[in-house]
């Protein structure tokens, strides 16, 4: 990761001079940052266009964009905010694409659950706490709630749910052992974790609304050509391989 970072820094420094015209700033949802770093490196290798990355929660980035933040492309963790931007004219009409779809995993790091069936534990209710992201603010939280409702487990689980402010915090609750089980993102499980899984079960995507992550080209961009190039690059097989490796599915 760190040589990559240095590369970006260098690129960013250079960009302020000779490449000022083609400098690209991407606003990205925090949980997608590691992935976008990898994608941006590939993009720079191909196009020589320097890329700067600004990360934050989708809600915060949205608020920044509405208030005139100078981003070219917005990679959201959901589809709602890009849609709102498009409707409000802050994003270029027709530029909205689904660049990746997330998957939900029932997961535990509790050594007592080693080699057990995560779903059976959830169904039997023999767990202390279940961590999910806040359904009101995080798409993964909403998906988790929908899954629990679809499985008829929500009412029973409700008073044992610990809500993370976002999906990262839900993961934190599980990793530190504060929650026995967690409904978290596949992309998190595929990443580097300080503990090993004791059990894991992939939630079928049919049991919750799609975790589509959408990107838009922002109207305020003074670098629309480079931004379009990046949007196109997102849909290449090269990127698809990276996304699949990191636990996302790629739309057809």
């Amino acid at each position: 990761m760190s040589p990559l970072r240095t590369g970006f820094l260098f690129a960013a420094l250079v960009s302020t001079n000779s490449f000022a015209d083609e400098n690209l700033t991407i606003a990205v949802a925090s949980n997608f940052q590691a992935t976008v770093n990898e994608i941006a490196a590939e993009f720079m290798a191909v196009t020589k266009i320097p890329v700067r990355i600004s990360s934050g929660s989708t809600g915060k980035l949205y608020a920044q964009i509405v208030n005139g933040a100078p981003y070219d492309v917005f990679l959201a963790a959901d589809s709602a905010r890009p849609k709102l931007l498009e409707e409000a004219g802050a994003a270029v009409k027709g530029s909205r694409i689904t660049y990746a779809t997330g998957a939900l995993v029932l997961w535990s790091a509790d050594s007592a659950l080693k080699n057990k069936d995560c779903l059976a534990v959830l169904k039997s209710g023999s767990y202390r706490r279940l961590a999910i992201a806040n359904p009101l603010t995080a798409p993964y939280g909403l998906a988790a709630k929908e899954f629990l409702q679809a499985a008829g487990l929500f009412d029973e689980a409700e008073n044992r749910i610990a809500y993370g402010e976002n999906i990262s915090q839900a993961l934190q609750f599980v990793v530190t052992g504060n929650a026995t089980l967690g409904l978290i993102a596949m992309s998190q499980v595929k990443g580097r974790l300080p503990v090993t899984a004791s059990c894991s079960w992939n939630v079928p995507s049919t049991m919750h609304s799609a975790l589509d992550q959408q990107a838009v080209l922002l109207s305020g961009s003074d670098n629309a050509d480079a931004a379009r190039k990046f949007m196109n690059f997102l849909q290449t097989t090269q990127v698809a391989m990276i996304l699949e490796h990191r636990g996302y599915t790629v739309p057809e």
Binding site: S57, G59, R128, R129, A131, N134, L136, T137, I161, A162, Y163, G164, E165, Q169, Q172, F173, T176, G177, N178
Partner: protein, 221 residues
């Protein structure tokens, strides 16, 4: 009608935390003000740590220590069968640590400004050290106590980062007003955010105002 539950919960949390901090913090402040132990600066530094540490750092370590595998958390689970994290009790413990310096330091300052001879006079008049603490040291330090109460209460009421880390956002249990406002902002429900914020502002102002008013009355006497 909007849900004022989080505001009420925050008030309860601030009230309980302040009460505990005054009861436990006063002897600690007294010890810090009177001791000549070489450990005094060490304890003093530890007490002041929450001022420096970002709430998220504090919250992260509390998440570990209060968690079912942590030193305090595991003992609690054995005792009650429940985890400390994601519970009101856990928030009280976290808040006590988070607001500790804000309660201890004003009391300590007040105790330090007491005249040593005045206390000695109390002892020679037949008051034991404990008696002299309650009958002389505490009443003469009353303004330090008022400051401690105001600061601990206000600091706990406005607490966010630590609660975010160890609370789990459970309505009626850990969903305090700052978290509720944050969620309303995140979900673009600005109307509810404004209402709750306004209620918090009014509540905080009225509370602080009454305490400062009491303090002023005392001062005038």
């Amino acid at each position: 009608m909007m849900d004022f539950g989080p505001l009420w919960l925050s008030a309860q949390l601030a009230l309980v935390t302040t009460a505990i901090l005054i009861i436990l913090g006063a002897p600690l402040a007294w010890w810090l003000s009177q001791t000549r132990s070489r450990w005094q600066p060490v304890v003093q530094a530890i007490v002041a740590m929450p001022i420096v540490l970002p709430p998220t750092v504090l919250g992260f370590y509390l998440l570990i220590v209060l968690g079912p595998n942590g030193a305090i958390g595991s003992w609690w689970v054995k005792l009650t069968g429940d985890t400390l994290t994601f519970s009101f009790t856990g928030l009280v413990i976290a808040s006590c640590i988070y607001s500790l310096p804000f309660a201890v330091q004003p009391m300590q300052n007040a105790f330090e400004s007491l005249s040593k001879r005045n206390l000695e006079a109390a002892w020679t008049l037949g008051a034991s050290k404990l008696d002299a603490f309650f009958s002389v040291a505490v009443p003469l330090s009353i303004r330090g106590f008022v400051s401690a109460i105001v600061l601990a209460f206000a600091h706990t009421l406005g607490e966010f980062g630590v609660v975010l880390m160890v609370g789990g956002n459970i309505p009626g249990e850990t969903r305090v007003v700052s978290i509720a406002i944050y969620d309303h902002v995140e979900t673009l429900d600005y109307a509810s955010a404004h209402q709750l914020s306004l209620a918090l502002i009014v509540f905080a102002f009225v509370t602080l105002f009454s305490m400062f008013l009491i303090n002023r009355r005392w001062q005038a006497r």
